[in-house]
């Protein structure tokens, strides 16, 4: 039965689904490119982080979820947030430290925003901590009979934290419907994976928790989607937690200020060939789901949409100084 269900959920994608993959990957990249412009214009406050080359992982995995499911994204997972319904204006405003619904009202930075209704939690910077948070969300869902799934994203580097270990083990033992997506992009800041951990495949970490671990090509959006569907099906069937390792690559530095001179040029060149968007464009064309023209049209629509959204964000005011004193406790909460 479980098996049947799995097949059901992982096969026969519709054209609409494929085009959605494209839409969200393209949107992610264009949004980040737009942010880069804002960054150069000194409108972005603080660092700017890119997910260039990793869009397929974020989009493919989040696309396997449904309403009610909750994700905890990181800086490389804007694509997953977009799939879950964040508005580009929220991200623009957030990066520009503006106020407004959908932002953190200037309290926190980059993608640190939550919308429990849309299904994303605002992570904290301390890497690994979100794993047990999402185990708790999954636990509550189970208690409340909601049959939801939670998904926590983190990088190869974050697997070294004690919090990662405690969180995954906790979810495993309590058989919680939580999926951990390890985005292995080759580096943690300047540190290559071989200095982070001796395993070649981070999916092997699953063996230490007695849960399924699967490796997937993180630059193949459909493969990511399918692998996630399998894990989601297990989770919904009550079979508990899973780990998915998405093998991908960080095509830019850790953040805008990092020129990643420590990354061998050949490696970057090699991975440029595997660009998930370019690759998916070819796939769509080959399978007659798109033409150069239709893609161009979609791209332009996205750009126009982002332009509007950025304008809305730019028109959003900064929060008022005094508002910084609110919301520490329920008793002083203004923003609900």
């Amino acid at each position: 039965m479980t098996r049947a269900k799995k097949n059901l959920e992982t096969t026969k994608l519709t054209k609409e689904q494929y085009l959605n993959f494209y839409y969200y990957m393209r949107m992610t990249r264009s949004l980040e490119e737009r942010l880069t412009i804002l960054f150069r214009q000194n409108k972005v406050v603080g660092g700017l982080y890119r997910s260039l080359g990793q869009e397929a992982t974020a989009v493919g995995s989040a696309s396997a979820l449904r309403d009610g499911d909750v994700i905890s994204p990181l800086i490389r997972d804007m694509g997953a947030m977009l799939v879950k319904g964040v508005r580009p204006r929220d991200l623009f405003a957030q990066y520009m430290a503006r106020d407004g619904e959908g932002t953190s009202h200037g309290r926190d930075l980059n993608i640190h925003i939550a919308d429990m209704k849309r299904g994303y939690v605002g992570p904290i910077s301390q890497l690994g901590d979100m794993v047990s948070i999402m185990a708790g969300v999954a636990l509550a869902g189970k208690m409340q009979g909601k049959n939801i799934v939670t998904m926590v994203y983190l990088g190869d580097g974050a697997t070294s934290t004690g919090a990662f270990h405690e969180g995954v083990n906790f979810a495993a033992v309590l058989r919680l419907p939580m999926i951990t997506i390890i985005e292995n992009n080759g580096y943690a800041f300047s540190t290559p994976t071989e200095k982070q951990c001796l395993v070649k495949d981070f999916a092997d970490k699953a063996k230490s928790y007695g849960i399924p671990g699967e490796i997937v090509d993180g630059n193949d959006v459909e493969a990511v989607y399918n692998a996630t569907c399998r894990a989601v099906a297990r989770a919904r069937a009550g079979e508990g937690a899973s780990i998915i390792e998405a093998k991908t690559f960080r095509m830019l530095g850790h953040a805008q200020h990092d020129d990643q001179r420590y990354v061998p040029k050949e490696l970057i060149a090699e991975w440029r060939e595997k660009d998930p968007i370019k690759r998916f464009q070819e796939f769509l064309k080959k399978n007659k789901m798109a033409t150069d023209e239709s893609l161009k049209e979609m791209d332009e629509k996205i750009l126009a949409y982002l332009e509007e959204e950025a304008a809305i964000a730019e028109a959003t005011p900064f929060p008022t100084p005094e508002s910084s004193l609110e919301d520490v406790y329920y008793e002083t909460q203004k923003h609900k």
């Binding site: 047990s132 708790g136 509550a140 309590l174 520490v328």
Partner: protein, 324 residues
């Protein structure tokens, strides 16, 4: 009314809150069938089952993290830390996730993290600590520490119903040593309200937890010497009852701050600062701290007895201050 120990009062609060509200559940190490290292949760597993009394792996960070996550979904988790000393392993989750969530992402974290604190039990450096000061500089947290069975129950209920993360410190020396008649019906002790345990006119002793009993003992003994101590039991450490503190100082003009935690960086500093800032005019003498000395909590009986504040040490300080 029934006579219950401090420990039973805690158990009652858990039981009643779980009965009252389905979203209340417990998680921690060995709290299920075993009933917890101190048997605080005894009987609750049998009553509420494994889904609401959850045994966890030895993972304090995950215990607190999972509690936060569940709270975000509308649950009311109560996490037990087997000895409060081990809360150090969850320091990060508490101060960075739980404390800041409402502020930075608009999502409240109504959790209670409770556990046995304090010395006197020959527990040594890792089973005797008082950890309140570690968390005092973290906006977003609340902290309470009851001194009586009545408060143990009422404060725990208030903590469970509170919309924010509350650290609930239960002094293990009091678990079975004190008991009292407490009402059968539902009541809470509001967070943020101190209680004057004994009225006095010469010196205000501001304290909390097990030290309340030390203060009362000293007050009783000093009466015959003509020194009248007022004993203020803070009950809530964060937020604290500034009004009650200042009222007492206005009345007595002299203050001793008493706590079991060590001196430098201990809780007394905060209260000294508030008094020295807001009641400076009323002060008729130095603000005196009576605390443990600045060492880890030693294990051996003669050392621990020497280490802990007691009625004699307090009386000595009070006599000096009275003569000031």
């Amino acid at each position: 009314m029934a006579v219950v120990t401090y420990l039973e009062a805690i158990r009652q609060a858990l039981m009643e809150e779980m009965q009252r509200d389905e979203s209340v559940f417990l998680l921690g190490e060995d709290i299920g069938a075993y009933g917890g290292a101190f048997k605080v949760t005894e009987g609750l597993y049998e009553k509420f089952g494994p889904n609401r009394v959850i045994d966890t792996p030895i993972s304090e960070s995950a215990i607190v993290g999972a509690a936060c996550g569940a709270a975000m979904m509308g649950m009311r988790p109560v996490a037990e830390i087997q000895f409060i000393d081990f809360i150090s392993c969850a320091f990060d989750q508490l101060t960075n996730y739980a404390a800041k969530s409402r502020y930075r992402q608009g999502v409240g974290i109504p959790i209670v993290v409770r556990g046995p604190c304090g010395g006197g039990g020959r527990g040594g450096p890792f089973h005797s600590q008082n950890v309140e000061s570690f968390f005092l500089n973290t906006p977003g947290l609340k902290m309470v520490e009851p001194a009586t069975a009545y408060d143990a129950k009422g404060l725990l209920k208030a903590a469970i119903r509170d919309e924010d993360p509350v650290l609930y410190f239960e002094h293990k020396f009091l678990y079975r040593r004190i008991k009292e008649d407490i009402p059968d019906d539902d009541y809470i002790v509001p967070i943020g309200k101190a209680k004057v345990r004994r009225e006095g006119k010469d010196i205000s002793v501001i304290t909390y937890g097990a030290m309340v009993h030390v203060a009362l003992e000293a007050a009783e003994k000093l009466q015959s010497e003509g020194i009248s101590l007022e004993v203020v039991d803070l009950r809530s450490l964060l937020p604290y009852d500034e009004e009650a503190i200042l009222n007492s100082v206005v009345k007595t003009s002299k203050v001793i701050l008493l706590h079991e935690a060590t001196r430098i960086g201990g809780y007394a500093g905060e209260i000294a600062a508030v008094i020295a800032e807001k009641a400076f005019d009323c002060l008729d003498g130095p603000i005196v701290r009576v605390t443990s000395p600045d060492t880890p909590v030693p294990f051996s009986p003669p050392l621990e007895d020497f280490f802990l504040p007691n009625a004699e040490k307090l009386m000595k300080a009070a006599r000096q201050l009275a003569a000031y």
